[in-house]
């Protein structure tokens, strides 16, 4: 296998307690890889911790959400000509060895979008019921409208290929979201594959999800899903 340029994008917000461990684990498991931390102006030590480890860090304001953070990562990957962009969460919930397996799969099968699913096997991840059912609903909707079967459409572990990144950059109006990118990829008839990724219970920091924004999250995702379809019809 010839050398691929890989970029790992980690969005963080107040993950100062664990980010150092996440970075060092990644550095041990992946030998040659570039890490890019995208921080939402954390109020704790995240910035200094990351800088201390000699890792590239970009700061994006929190009000723009995680979507813009990942978009910046995509922009960066395109600019520096990376072959694969791996997006994982900054809270240490994804185990690096699982992500490594996922990346190998993406490289071998040449998938455009590879998703680390939490539901393909027994994982430690137990979302609240609202979130669980909204994921199921989104899954059904994607299956109906895009003919794509994705078990975990809101996974925070996704691998994007160079081809997909190029398409995203070309599409000016695109706004990143976990569901949006699945719709985008299946609309272009690019390959999507899933593999199991374990998700550990969160140890530190606070999740960006609670009951009230689970509703807005679901609403936003359904809107993204349905609005992409109309564009599909015009073609």
């Amino acid at each position: 296998m010839n050398e691929k340029k890989i970029l790992i994008v980690i969005p963080t917000y107040n993950e100062g307690l664990i980010i150092e461990k996440v970075i060092s684990e990644i550095k041990i498991i992946f030998e040659k890889v570039d890490i890019l931390v995208i921080d939402a102006y954390s109020s704790d030590e995240t910035y200094n911790q990351v800088k201390k480890n000699g890792v590239n860090i970009i700061q994006i304001d929190k009000i723009f959400g995680i979507g813009l953070a990942i978009e910046t990562g995509i922009f960066f990957a395109n600019k520096n000509d990376y072959d694969f962009l791996v997006r994982i969460d900054g809270d240490g919930q994804h185990s690096p060895s699982d992500v490594k397996n996922l990346l190998d799969l993406a490289i071998n099968k040449k998938n455009d979008l590879t998703i680390g699913s939490r539901f393909l096997d027994k994982s430690e991840y137990h979302p609240n019921y609202l979130r669980l059912y909204s994921i199921k609903l989104l899954r059904k909707l994607i299956e109906i409208f895009y003919k794509t079967n994705v078990t975990d459409c809101t996974s925070g572990c996704q691998i994007l290929s160079k081809k997909l990144i190029k398409e995203l950059i070309r599409n000016k109006g695109f706004e990143y979201s976990e569901v949006g990118i699945i719709c985008f990829t299946s609309k272009l008839n690019m390959s999507i594959q899933e593999n199991f990724v374990n998700m550990k219970e969160r140890k530190t920091g606070a999740s960006s999800f609670n009951l009230t924004n689970s509703f807005t999250y679901m609403f936003k995702n359904i809107l993204i899903l349905l609005s992409s379809i109309t564009i599909n019809f015009k073609k």
Binding site: N56, I57, I60, T72
Partner: protein, 114 residues
């Protein structure tokens, strides 16, 4: 029919709206592009003051018996469309701001890595 008194007031309101909007455009606190819809509203007031029958005609078309309600319906529709217009402008600006944020963040990153 509207009384002469109310027709005069409608004319006055229309002229005041147009005057204020032109003043705002002159002071550069309103983009000429966005002033268009407001000037249109001013002209509508003036039009009503000269041809008050418009209000009755619209009421009949809408099937409203009590014509003052027709005025309300028209104005609510007008206000609603202005708000929608403003929402689209906000969206456009937000998109632009996001793009800037992205570019500035990358530039700062490049600068700090040099």
């Amino acid at each position: 029919m509207l009384s002469i008194h109310s027709r005069f007031i409608a004319l006055l309101i229309g002229l005041i709206i147009i005057f204020i909007i032109l003043l705002f455009v002159r002071k550069k606190s309103l983009e000429p592009m966005y002033s268009f819809i407001w000037i249109l509203i001013g002209f509508f007031f003036i039009l009503v003051s000269f041809f008050p029958n418009i209000v009755y005609l619209v009421s009949i078309v809408l099937g409203i018996e009590f014509s003052p309600i027709g005025v309300l319906v028209i104005s609510i529709f007008g206000l609603g469309s202005i708000i929608l217009h403003i929402s689209t402008i906000i969206t456009k600006h937000q998109r632009k701001i996001k793009e800037f944020e992205k570019k500035i963040a990358l530039l700062e990153n490049e600068k700090s890595n040099k």
